[in-house]
């Protein structure tokens, strides 16, 4: 029992306790936190089984890039599979279940796949299940489908309702962190119509987990003050719980608003989700940066987390990921997590730094091991220690959670969705958005300006420039004073050398570093080939965590620069969007217009069973009392028409009147058969020809 709720701290509402269930077990959490945070507070680290080897997996992140903590939420037809616990807002009565395990999360028979892993390497589907061909559909595919996979799709009719909307604005600001808030304020104050969208249920982004003070008050208070001013401005629309998932031509953005995903019983008068198409004159991308994981032996054991996520859980949600935490880092960010945890009273077992001479200050009494590498982790369903190696000397350190920090990568998905290729920055060791013109500008951490002060300044300056471009006065505002800045620098470490266990690159699809090596050896070294051969980055998280390491490793393995490897293609959607939301109200009888012939009412009264014929509803047959099958009715009708008279309603067919001296000749040229010219009152069904004689 190790992860626990801290005695104080966090921006959760500790006076509002919420009851929820995970795999049938009753648990408690607080209002204002995510499901993942509440699970951690209940020491539920094991949340899922991996895709291929069914390895036990735990929560890794505190945001939308989560690869492991996918759960099914809700009951019956209203179940949402593959929901990320790290973004799911906790509510009273939430019912979540783990996926891809049988018979239970703790004892999973599929874990036997782990023993077979030597035979399940990259491309094994292509190599193993080749012959006999007839076996593929009947034996192999059903077998693979049962063993692999994540959540199960619900086959019942979706009881939720959805709708689609359009919105128009001068400026859309994507992301309400420090950059986005400053940008929205700057643009809003001079009168631009601004939409501020953020996927979180609480706005503020990284400010919600920030310990640095702004204008000599906590960062959270600064965020609240910004939001209060924004709410008072009539020209600002604030859209929380809204993911901007796509950037399309003419600066149209696609966004998904989760209107009622955080309530146990949605109101019928409101949609559950709303799909927005937002036409923006300008856009500012303030999506921040994502911490990269480290690729080391045993890095997938539950308890291994992103260091930044641990910091978020501690500072924002008041939850400690463990009682004794080890940090493995290649830069300064790991030290920041260590000192924040330390300040919360969590023991930091050690800081393992891959760099030779780190200059960062560790919290008092914490041991720093430089030039070292984590080569293995201990424990089964949760980590209980790690093995660190330095210059051939191995040492086991006991800990119950490991925070990993592999440097920062700007979230640039939207900027690259229309064909522009990401550009490698050798200074920042990551990919940046290319210059894509005035329509969309990237600011703050998303543009590689990681410092808090830099984010605030960048957001304000770029918004002022956009205001000027659009003919609004561009008034400079005094920038808030930022307290202690943290150095965001790091030294790239694509692979922690000496791994004694599987070192995973892509957690969700179970791709480890050896799979990438195999892909390279077998001629699939191009990043797009390697992705498809190993499936790295092909899971539902689309490689949000793994992509940078995939590129870095492919480059390192070949001894070339990541710039020459490049990234795979960025495509909408940024995060998965439910089909229901894409369909909106256009489903069932509202999927297409309903056309009724003048005889519809008469036919209905006489017991017609209708069939769709194009958009028209035409009687298929008239069922009479006692007739059990369509065949009985049809047989009766056929006999009746043979012996008497039938009536067929063909008023739904198109009609064109043709008259004049050569009308018959004209028809002759249009139709396959000669027309009965001169015979009045005759009727004939025939096939007309198009321009191409068909």
């Amino acid at each position: 029992m190790t992860a626990y709720r801290l005695g104080s701290g966090g921006v959760v509402d500790r006076s509002n306790t919420l009851s929820f269930k995970f795999d049938g077990r009753a648990m408690k959490g607080y209002a204002g936190e995510t499901l993942a945070s509440a699970l951690l507070a209940n020491d539920q680290l094991l949340v899922g089984r991996s895709f291929k080897y069914h390895r036990p997996r735990g929560i890794v992140t505190a945001g939308p890039s989560e690869p492991n903590a996918l759960v099914a939420i809700g009951k019956g037809a209203a179940t949402d599979p593959n929901t990320k616990a790290t973004v799911a807002e906790l509510y009273a009565g939430l019912d979540a279940r783990s996926q891809n395990r049988w018979p239970s999360l703790k004892y999973d028979i599929g874990a036997l796949n782990g023993l077979l892993s030597p035979f399940l390497s990259a491309g094994f589907y292509y190599k193993t299940f080749m012959w006999p061909a007839a076996f593929w559909e009947k034996v192999y595919e059903p077998l693979i489908r049962r063993a692999a996979g994540l959540g199960r799709a619900v086959l019942e009719h979706d009881p939720h309702s959805y709708e689609k909307c359009w919105a128009h604005c001068d400026l859309i600001v994507v992301g309400a962190g420090p950059t986005g808030l400053m940008a929205a304020l700057t643009a809003g104050r001079v009168g631009l119509r601004v939409i501020l969208a953020d996927e979180d249920f609480r706005l503020g982004g990284s400010l919600l987990a920030e310990t640095t003070r702004i204008d000599d008050r906590p960062a959270v208070d600064f965020a609240e003050a910004c939001l209060a001013e924004l709410r008072a401005l009539p020209n600002i629309t604030i859209m929380p719980r809204t993911t901007v998932f796509g950037w399309y031509d003419d600066n149209v953005f696609g966004a998904l608003e989760r209107v009622q995903k955080h309530v146990v019983a949605p109101q019928a008068k409101l949609p559950v989700e709303r799909l927005w198409r937002i036409v923006a004159k300008r856009a500012l991308l303030a999506t921040g940066a994502e911490e990269g994981p480290l690729v080391f032996g045993g890095n997938d054991r539950p308890g291994v987390m992103m260091a930044g996520a641990m910091r978020t859980y501690a500072n924002r949600f008041g939850v400690a990921a463990g009682r004794s935490v080890a940090i493995f880092t290649n830069g300064s960010a790991g030290y920041r997590t260590a000192s924040d945890l330390s300040a919360h009273g969590v023991e930091v077992a050690a800081i393992i730094d891959s760099r030779d001479a780190p200059r960062d200050a560790a919290p008092a009494g914490v041991r720093v091991i430089p030039s070292a590498s984590v080569i293995d982790t201990r424990g089964r369903q949760r980590v209980c220690g790690l093995v660190v190696e330095r210059a051939g000397f191995e040492e086991t350190i006991a800990c119950d959670a490991i925070g990993m920090s592999g440097g920062w990568n700007p979230v640039i998905h939207l900027a690259c969705q229309r064909g522009a290729k990401a550009v490698w920055s050798p200074e920042l060791n990551t990919f940046l958005a290319p210059d894509i013109g005035n329509g969309l500008v990237v600011a703050g951490s998303a543009a590689g300006r990681y410092s808090l002060g830099g984010c605030l300044r960048d957001g304000a300056e770029r918004a002022a420039r956009i205001a000027g471009d659009l003919g609004f006065p561009s008034v400079g505002n005094p920038l808030p004073a930022v307290g202690d800045e943290v150095d965001p620098s790091f030294t790239a470490l694509w692979y922690a050398p000496g791994a004694k266990a599987k070192a995973f690159v892509d957690f969700q699809n179970d791709v480890d570093v050896k799979d990438l090596g195999l892909a390279l050896r077998e001629g699939f070294g191009h990043v797009e080939h390697a992705k498809r051969y190993t499936t790295a980055g092909m899971a539902t998280d689309q490689g949000k965590l793994s992509a940078i390491n995939t590129t870095g490793l492919l480059a390192a393995m070949q001894g070339i620069s990541p710039a020459d490897v490049g990234t795979t293609t960025f495509r909408p959607f940024y995060t998965p969007v439910a089909f229901g939301a894409l369909a909106g109200t256009a489903r069932d009888e509202r999927a297409a217009p309903v056309r009724k012939s003048p005889l519809y009412g008469w036919a209905e009264k006489n017991g017609a069973i209708f069939v769709d014929s194009g958009l028209w509803y035409r009687p298929a047959y008239f069922a009479r009392h006692g007739e059990k099958t369509w065949r009985e009715s049809t047989d009766r009708e056929v006999v009746n028409v043979r012996q008497h008279v039938g009536l067929c309603d063909v008023s739904t067919l198109g009609k064109i009147e043709i008259f004049g001296p050569d009308a018959a000749e004209f028809l002759n040229r249009l139709y396959c058969n000669p027309q009965p010219a001169g015979r009045q009152g005759a009727l004939r069904a025939d096939a007309a020809r198009g321009r191409n004689s068909l």
Binding site: D249, D250, V279, R691
Partner: protein, 92 residues
Amino acid sequence: MASLIHCPHCGVRPSQEFSIRGDASVVRPAPDAADEAWHEYVHLRSNPRGRHREHWHHVAGCRRWLVVERDTFTHDVFSVTDGAAVAREGGR
């Protein structure tokens, strides 16, 4: 493809309201033209990468036929003209 189309009758409308009806640059040959000319007119279409003229039908709007000149690669739209106006100018 462009997300928004400036219809000369309805103003800026989403492209989902339109139905693309094919190449607007082909010209119907004279009735007695050679078979090759007819073959080309009826069956052959180019798929250009770059500027292209197409018939767009504003199905969910004014229901007019329009001629849209656009770039199939950059997705820029250069002009949207009523089909009848194009025909009157002999531009088809």
